[in-house]
Subunit: 342 residues, 2 copies
């Protein structure tokens, strides 16, 4: 009991039995004398003994800890997804180590190796906007660390993935804008090496084509996933003539930024320009007018990803199953596109 922490040795010594017996008693083995078992458990409780997970991990060669790598905590999508992950982890008796890449490829690589050193049993990954090389992940996979992608996935790896139907949501949003009579619909695209950005853009383009609307390059502006970026894009868009009559933004934050600029310029939403976003962050129902957006099941995405990871970790055969789980989105119509909506 050197370090202030009680060990099975302490219990064994005080009870004059071997550590093996203590270990078994504590783990409730069948062939253990009821009396010794009781003696051990009571003393353990008395001493407030807590098994040293570190030692257990070393023996068992598994830590019951998973790593999570996300771009940033401050995107509400991730805050919610992590909640879902945590909930599943607690149920399955796993610990969670979360790292944020801050959208930097270098940081992401470093995160991954840190987590690998900690010998996490598996990894839940949503890649940074910069990531185009996936060696760091492939390398870990080869070492037997299970990986599941969520939201920002890399199709090139044979692992499970959890996404929403980004294409479908984008089509729905764009068609909604078309259905309210908009003809010059702009799109604020996300970073183009991310599949979510590509898919949302593809949905936008296809919806326009389906309805025989021209696809104009000057109405497609590049953005990051934040408010400032949405403001920049909006300012840029307002230089274009004729003005667009709608914007479909790759994310709610981008849409919020756009709304801010439009309001400053005295442009009416939705009369002059209608706006739609993506995700349905809590803020979407608070801004004025409320933001029409494609709702994502953020919490459920986290839960699902975690569940798949645990299943994969505990799969007896090492042949990996790599389903792509595609969750549904739901278009929520608010005042930013329809005057009298909620």
């Amino acid at each position: 009991m050197s370090s202030g922490q009680v060990t099975i040795k302490d219990i064994a010594r005080q009870l004059n039995i071997s550590v093996a017996t203590v270990s078994r008693a504590l783990r409730d083995f069948p062939d253990i004398n009821e009396n010794t078992k009781k003696a051990v458990t009571t003393l353990a409780a008395e001493l407030d003994y807590r098994p040293n997970q570190i030692a257990q991990s070393l023996v068992k060669r598994r830590t019951n800890t998973i790593g999570v790598v996300i771009p940033t905590f401050v995107i509400p999508f991730y805050a919610s997804a992590i909640s879902g992950i945590q909930e599943e982890a607690a149920k399955a008796n796993y610990n969670v180590m979360v790292c944020q890449s801050n959208e930097s490829y270098t940081t992401e690589v470093s995160n991954i190796y840190t987590l690998a050193s900690s010998r996490v049993d598996g990894l839940l990954v949503s890649v940074s906007k910069e990531t185009t090389n996936f060696d760091h992940l492939q390398c870990l996979q080869q070492k037997g660390i299970e990986i599941v992608f969520f939201n920002r996935v890399y199709e090139g790896m044979p692992v499970a993935k959890v996404v929403v139907d980004d294409y479908d949501g984008a089509v729905a949003a764009t068609e909604h804008l078309i259905s309210i009579g908009r003809k010059r619909i702009a799109h604020f695209c996300g970073p183009q090496n991310l599949s979510i950005s590509q898919e949302r853009r593809r949905g936008y383009v296809d919806a326009l084509k389906t309805h025989n609307l021209p696809v104009r390059e000057e109405l497609m502006l590049s953005c990051d996933f934040n408010i400032a970026s949405g403001m920049d894009a909006a300012r840029q868009l307002l230089q274009v003539r004729p003005l667009p009559d709608a914007i479909f933004a790759v994310s709610d934050s981008v849409a919020f930024g756009a709304m801010k600029v439009l309001k400053e310029q005295g442009i009416r939403i939705p009369e002059d320009i209608a706006i739609a976003g993506y995700t349905d962050e809590p803020t979407a129902s608070l801004v004025d007018p409320g933001l029409t957006t494609v709702a994502q099941p953020t919490f459920e995405i986290g839960q699902t990803a975690a569940r798949l990871l645990f299943a994969q970790i505990n799969r007896p055969s090492k042949e990996s199953v790599c389903p792509k789980t595609v969750l549904k989105t739901r278009l929520i119509i608010r005042g930013s596109t329809v005057k009298n909506a909620v």
Copy 2:
């Protein structure tokens, strides 16, 4: 190399030297032959050797991991604070395990014990709204696990604490409302066993007294830290006659909820009722009108708490230093109290 992970044993075998030498070479010991050192490091790189932190932790009796317990990820305050914590941790070469209590005392206790089992070197804690018993934390402290409280602290323990001057911020907000001529100022209080709630309420009460305004019980309503709770309180408040002319909410979310209800009721903000919040979440500048609020340095709170924890962990003498760091707030005036503000 059974588990797919390279160990120093593998390196030793291939180089025909002892593991001790490998271990020393890898750690760049002074009295090691240059050639063996080079041989070891190159082979290690070739094999992509990663030291097993678990094994190291067991020997060193420290994990270089800290635990963080927060009420919930989805309060933007915590998302930002965790970012600050992460940043400091990365710098100091620490890992972070985050758990959320979901505002439940039972879950918090369970989180704490899980983290203790993982042998974290220290703990950053923001208690749940239900927590009134602190045995679980005192117990860990006695076992030599360092603790630092942030935001929601417990004054009764001799450990470092990081807070903002909640009282001061509340006074500033309330006096601002008074300065714009409001006389019937309501307060939506937070859970009263949290010091932040108490302090903000105390600031509100004292400001009223200082300005010879009556303190009316019927204008002080209890809330949790979320939108729904703010909506409930607002509905309740609207039953009171005469109506109040201002609301000081314990948090931005509560204020957002209140704004929503007031707008639905056709009550003008700020003309009929002015509103102020606390924290300055990103959403505060997006709602319409913008929310006047007491800005907190959320990221810095996380950073500071982490820094203090690392200092405490690495302090040679075991006598613990327990300063209370009080960071400054800043009143940000927006349209919810002053018509022509930004």
